[in-house]
Amino acid sequence: MNGFTIATPAQVLAIDVRLPDLDYAAMAPMLVLFGAACLGVLVDAFAPRQSRHTIQFALSFIALTVALLAVIREARVGSRELTADVALAIDGPTLFLQGTLAVLGIVALLLVGERALEKGGPFVSQAAIPVGSEADRRQAREEGATEVFPLTLFALSGMMLFVAANDLLTMFVALEVFSLPLYLLCALARRRRLVSQEAALKYFLLGAFASAFFIFGMALLYGFAGTVSFGGIHDAALLATTSPLLLFTGLAMVAVGLLFKIAAVPFHVWTPDVYQGAPTSVTAFMAACTKVAAFGGLLRVLYVAFDRARWDIEPVIGTIAILTMLVGAILAVTQTDIKRLLAYSSIANAGYLLVGALAFSKEGLSSAMFYLAAYGFTVIAAFAVITLVRDDDGEATHLSRWAGLGREAPLVAGVFTFLMLAFAGIPLTSGFTSKFAVFGAALGVGEAWPVALVIVGVVTSMILAFPYLRVVVMMWLSEPAEQSPTVAIPGAFTSAALMVGVLATLLLGVFPSPVLDLADRAAEFIR
């Protein structure tokens, strides 16, 4: 008998039970999406088969529009607050990124909902059926799955939560909420089932490892700070008298989880395979929205929780940024598949975004957010073009098949040329303005690391221009191959997505100032 008394949970909690205040208006975008996703599950379970696609698409579209309106309303009100105790931060970056997510989500949804290009849509209903089995052949003939819509909505609600999360626990939950649907979506391609399943499995296994790192790092940070909220970690780092070993180990592990999601080297290996294997519309969704969400989370972690440790983490993240830019650019040169090419380009772009993030300044933050929005539109439009170039076997993604496309379909080739130029960062495109903003912010700090990063960034941009221009040259100047793929006539949805993407790329290149100002005004985290 050691005088060890046990308090039952009831006794502990009965002392002071205070339910946290919830600002429902501020949480409305996430709640709307989550509710619509749950409703979508019900629709899929009960609605008649023929009308499911229509209902689901309309439901998702309305939900995303409502979410966008809710974000805009919240931004109008100008709310800056911590809600749900301190679990959620509704501040400028949150609202800007949530708005970006909603818009990009709508555009990606248009691609996901397209059924004109392929009979039954580009998705099958069951991911786990062994390839080549009787059941698999049967489902290849059947009407496609409409579960993709609720899954997309679940993922988007998780992403919106992710950029708003103000403690590690909420962030982890959000990470899982948006990752799990993505793993599943990757495996649903109607064509090339085996590659699709492989992509999903790779993504899932590596993603699970990354999540494990994240949660382990979270435990260590909790051990250091005694709290998981970013503000608390910041204060603990400020006041700590103990060894910061736990802090840095924890930060490193959390960073692994986040850098995996943004596909930074050396955590990028999943990207090409997943981008190639996933259904192209899902790839577009991932490339645009996942990047926004993951960077939003990373920016918040770096700027809010580890602001004090910036001198210590700058060399590490800086090295990763340099590696990311170099590996992405150099490997992009060697690619022969258009989807893999864009995957490596997306890796390199993660590096440019890290340059902006590492400026640790208001300009750095605003330029990174602008970059995310601009890149998202361009990349969705690029993948939309890829869905159009097809042959009997589905999409023709090998670069050699694109030879001479300019003669076959000058309009589509012209659009793609414009997008490639945007990726290469040619002026009058959003690619130029966003890179300019990011590098400018880094130079504005005037320290050694940012400058070094900018130099590497400019050099790799030049390297990266080569593969883009090679595609352009191939399309316009090469002779068409024997059996050249046909360019499908885009349905209304794909046309709309393509138009929005191209227009945004052009407008953000010519008149970037409204969005730049918006990002600039939003670029302030609250703690």
Binding site: F4, P9, L13, A14, V17, C38, D44, A45, F46
Partner: protein
């Protein structure tokens, strides 16, 4: 042995006694039993026939979806247990019940979906 962990230690002790007892029983069995192995005795049972083929049968696990659902509801139970103990303490009230209702409802949605998709139909 006192206090909180003492109670758990007692559980462990009972476990140890159980292991010990069965070790003794197995040893007694080994000492007492007859042992005349033969080839026929060491074949597996196959309804009076000689077993054909390898020992390894690949069975189709049709109920992996059940396993998913089990994980779903087993984890749900983990959240329900602590809630059940304290939910009507002062300070929680209707909010706690409604929140748990939403949580259970979302999970029940999964069950409903599986039901409608004929996953729960054993063929």
């Amino acid at each position: 042995m006192g206090g909180y962990l003492g109670s758990y230690a007692t559980l462990g002790l009972l476990l140890a006694v159980g292991v010990l007892f069965f070790l003794v029983a197995m040893t007694a069995n080994r000492l007492l039993r007859t042992n005349r192995p033969s080839a026929a005795k060491s074949t597996t049972y196959e309804c009076g026939l000689d077993p054909v083929g390898g020992d390894w049968a690949q069975a189709q696990i049709r109920y992996y979806v059940y396993a998913y659902l089990y994980v779903l509801f087993a984890v749900e139970a983990v959240f329900l247990f602590p809630w059940a103990v304290i939910f009507d303490d002062p300070g929680f009230g209707m909010t706690a019940v409604v929140e748990m209702g939403i949580f259970v409802g979302v999970l029940a949605l999964g069950l409903l979906y599986a039901w409608r998709k004929r996953v729960l139909q054993w063929t």
